[in-house]
């Protein structure tokens, strides 16, 4: 048969001949637009209601009050809502245009057509992208026409920004959904994969933190130092946090860098999707996982997530209140992890009969889980016992938040960079590590209260736990963070070697106290004291202006001498006796060209603060002083 001759003859018969083009097919493009009209129509209608209709209904208000400025604020404020619309419609569009991959009949029909796979991908991808770009363009034009109709002016810049941002959001989220679509052969699995992958980085971070928190003594979630990267890998969070407006009066769009980076990522994901599509086995239609090398990742990923998430959940249901041991937790993790492993196997094999073939993998997972948990629990990595030498540390921040009284010095964040201070913190850290067996895992584990003999209105705390977080900034540039709950009671506070006593000494160091009240609150030398008042049971009492300077000197003197600013790790009887109900509030003005604001420093009056009490006496306010124990509040 003469092939060329036959082609020519047939073309004369055909009413609308087409050429074989392997890279794009307009018929398929058109078909997608007509078949899946509900997707792009709904997207269009939503934006139509949000933008031009909104302007039309606000016409009177715009004309009478707001003018064209309204457009800028409204349009820019509406840009972030496109993140969530694109997130939702992105996966809908991908599910629609690549739906044939999830049905073996449809996949067979489409791949028998005379078009290259790249052509099928490109045509479907572009038609899906047009589900967004065409409505966005149409809504932009309509909005412009509405602005012209209202007649108070135009804001083309804001409208352009809206159009560009929506196009970029949809490019990213749609491409991401298409990328997910390439890994599965099951249409129900696609939105699940998409949702999971959108939150995977953050979820894994939380799961790993949860596991490490339970098995690693001193672990703090920020230790791995990946927060920034994790937020970038969680697009909804990153875009949600950064995209918005700078507010009045400029009303500029923020988060342009994020939008640009994710749009670029969208292009890369589209290219990767094309490569995956090229290698895709069409017979995987119906399979939960369509790419062979992803199967073990899926299987063990599900097992790990089940182990950590469900294991922790069930453990907290049954054991949280009764034990701090990690071993019951490991049992739950083993059970739920292996369960997750077999569920993943069942999904992939589309059968409940998976145990005989796949038990070795489940056993291997359980073994690895036991080894990993053991390694963490027995500190084989040296994580728990690591305390940096003072000479290696440039600065250490000590945070301890449950201090009494809760005045301006009680926030408990101490930044220390003198070698002797760093050495004291390192010694405290060593003491904590040495007493690991005695330390609780959770806040409040040792808290106990008894009625006070001296103060009938109050219960006094005889034991409790104190939060302690140490952040070392190492000279080499690294950061080391540890977090503990240390036990506190009267005996431990008397034992100078105990972590509680060491912490008590550190936070009550006069220099630190002075720093906590003033420098850490933004106070600078030379800032004028505008006024001061003493809180009393009858309301605030103003301290005479002529005593202000004397009062400030007295307070600073008492703080420097350790007579004032004492903070307590327990709400003990001493705390109720020494601390007054009354607080002195100092109102300062920040001096300097770039510091045009007022601020306040609040100090709880204490019975040992001789100089301060003397000034209050001069002001005739000592009668109003009531100890905490004698007060009702």
């Amino acid at each position: 048969m003469n092939w060329e001759g036959k082609t020519m003859r047939s073309e004369t018969l055909s009413s609308k001949p087409c050429r074989v083009c392997g890279w794009f097919n307009f018929t398929l493009f058109q078909k997608n637009l007509t078949r899946f009209w509900p997707v792009w129509t709904l997207y269009s209608v939503l934006w139509f209601l949000i933008l031009p209709t909104n302007f039309l209904t606000s016409r009177d208000r715009i004309i009478r009050h707001e003018g064209a400025a309204y457009y800028r604020e409204a349009v820019i404020d509406l840009i972030p809502s496109g993140i969530f619309l694109s997130l939702f419609f992105g996966v809908l569009a991908a599910m629609a245009v690549f739906s044939y991959l999830y049905n073996s009949r449809a996949a067979g029909m489409m791949h028998a057509l005379p078009i290259r796979r790249e052509g099928l991908f490109l045509t479907n991808y572009l038609s899906g992208l047009c589900f967004f770009l065409l409505p966005i363009g149409a809504v932009a034009v309509l909005t412009l026409l509405v602005q012209v109709y209202i007649g108070v002016g135009l804001d083309l810049t804001a409208l352009f920004l809206w159009t560009w941002c929506q196009a970029m959001f949809s490019l990213f989220f749609y491409s991401f959904a298409v990328f997910c679509a390439m890994f599965t052969g099951n249409i129900v699995a696609l939105p699940v994969f998409y949702g999971v992958l959108n939150a995977l980085a953050y979820g894994l971070y939380l799961l790993f933190s949860a596991m490490a928190d339970l098995f690693l003594f001193g672990y703090y979630g920020g230790t791995i130092g990946m927060d920034h990267l994790i937020v970038w890998l969680t697009p909804v969070i990153r875009l949600g946090r950064t995209v918005g407006s700078s507010g009045a009066p400029d009303y500029r769009l923020t988060g342009l860098l994020s939008i640009f980076v994710y749009a670029l990522a969208g292009v890369v994901l589209a290219a990767l999707s094309a490569a995956l599509y090229h290698r895709r086995h069409i017979e995987t239609a119906g399979d939960v996982v369509a790419v062979s090398w992803v199967k073990p990742i899926f299987k063990y990923g599900v097992a790990f997530c089940s182990a950590v998430a469900l294991g922790t959940f069930f453990w907290s249901l049954f054991f949280l209140a009764s034990t701090n041991s990690a071993w019951p937790l490991l049992l739950f993790m083993l059970f739920t992890g292996v369960w997750g492993y077999f569920v993943a196997e069942m999904l992939m094999r589309k059968s409940f009969r998976v145990f005989r073939k796949s038990w070795p993998g489940g056993a291997a997972f359980a073994l690895v889980l036991v080894l990993a948990a053991g390694a963490m629990e027995f500190d084989l990595t040296g994580f728990e016992s690591r305390v940096p030498q003072a000479s290696q540390v440039a600065e250490v921040t000590l945070e301890s938040y449950s201090l009494s009284p809760l005045d301006s010095g009680g926030y408990g964040c101490y930044r220390l960079n003198r070698p002797e201070d760093i050495a004291r913190v390192a010694a405290l850290h060593q003491a904590v590590v040495r007493s690991k067996a005695d330390l609780p895992d959770e806040q409040g584990a040792y808290a106990s209260w008894i009625p006070s003999a001296a103060y009938p209105n109050w219960d006094i705390q005889i034991s409790g736990t104190q939060h302690l977080r140490l952040t070392y900034l190492l000279k080499g540039g690294g950061t080391l963070i540890r977090q503990y709950w240390i036990p506190v009671d009267e005996d431990l506070l008397k034992n100078e070697a105990s972590p509680a006593a060491q912490l008590d000494r550190l936070i009550n160091d006069p220099e630190q106290i002075l720093f906590q009240y003033f420098a850490s609150n933004g106070c600078q030398e030379g800032d004028p004291l505008l006024s001061a008042e003493l809180s009393t049971l009858d309301g605030p009492a103003v301290i005479p202006t002529d005593l202000l300077e004397e009062l400030l000197d007295a307070i600073q003197s008492d703080l420097a001498e350790g007579r004032l600013g004492r903070h307590y790790l327990l709400d003990s009887e001493e705390r109720y006796t020494n601390c007054y109900f009354n607080d002195i509030t100092l109102h300062f003005a920040a001096a300097g060209a770039d510091r045009r604001y007022d601020y306040t420093v609040t100090i709880t009056v204490q019975s040992t603060a001789g100089a301060t009490l003397k000034v209050l006496e001069q002001a005739g306010l000592t009668e109003t002083l009531v100890t905490k124990g004698d007060s009702m509040w």
């Binding site: 018929t27 067979g108 028998a112 057509l113 005379p114």
Partner: protein, 300 residues
Amino acid sequence: MIAAKHVIKTFDGFRALDGLTMEAPKGSIYGLVGPNGAGKSTILRHITGVYRPDQGEVLVDGQEVYENPAVKARIASIPDELYAFLSASTRDMMKFYRGFYPRFDAKRYQALKEIFPTVDEKTPIRRLSKGMQKQSAFWLALCCRPDVLVLDEPVDGLDPVMRRQVWSLLMGDVTEYNTTVLVSSHNLRELEDVCDHVGILSHGKVLIQRSLSDLQENIVKMQIVFQERELPALPEDMEVLHVSQVGRIHTLIIRGQADEVTNRLAVYAPILMEALPLTLEEIFIYELGGEDYAVRDIVL
């Protein structure tokens, strides 16, 4: 025209095609037969370019089919499981295929409307009966003016009149346009009427492929009655595929040409001897008997 060379395809560890080699000459109607799971549909999906072989190659006119739009534009297929877009009618699908197949013949579409009068071209295909869906598929496939027509259980669901009509159309295309038809079916009696070449598949391989006449000439059914009731010892080099006995009549299925076999058995001085041609179905059954796929007497 169509050539599959040493094609291997594995699905999750199961080898569906195990070095399959076959060749369908240009202008032939090639029947692909085999037991369930032999790999018939799998090789057809390779020939239509849907599946990518793990090894080996599938060629049409010497050109690789996979990812070759120019070759695929000359192939039309009717799979066992038909697919049409949701709510798409025959007319809609015609417009769709017209956008892909450069030789799509709109005039023929109009002409074939008379051949398939029960199919309303505006009714969604999914609302048609199974037989009408098959008719719609034939209607569209023939309009593509293919050089190669790949059919998987094509007349399943069609009534006898429509079967004849469809085969007549296909044979007309073969005669007029030298179309090559590759057809897989379990209806061997029907294939026997239309095929000129046959390939028998088993366990992912082609056991035998020949022209139907060669196939039928190379195997013979002998019905013999000897003086004695028992079957005498036959020559060792005589390839007897099957033996059965009813009363004194022995029925032997023997590989070889009828004349030669008759002459060799004549030396045993049978009382009665008759050489009968085998149907394709019988050939299929007896050939696969050696492949551990014989019909067994089952006692429940």
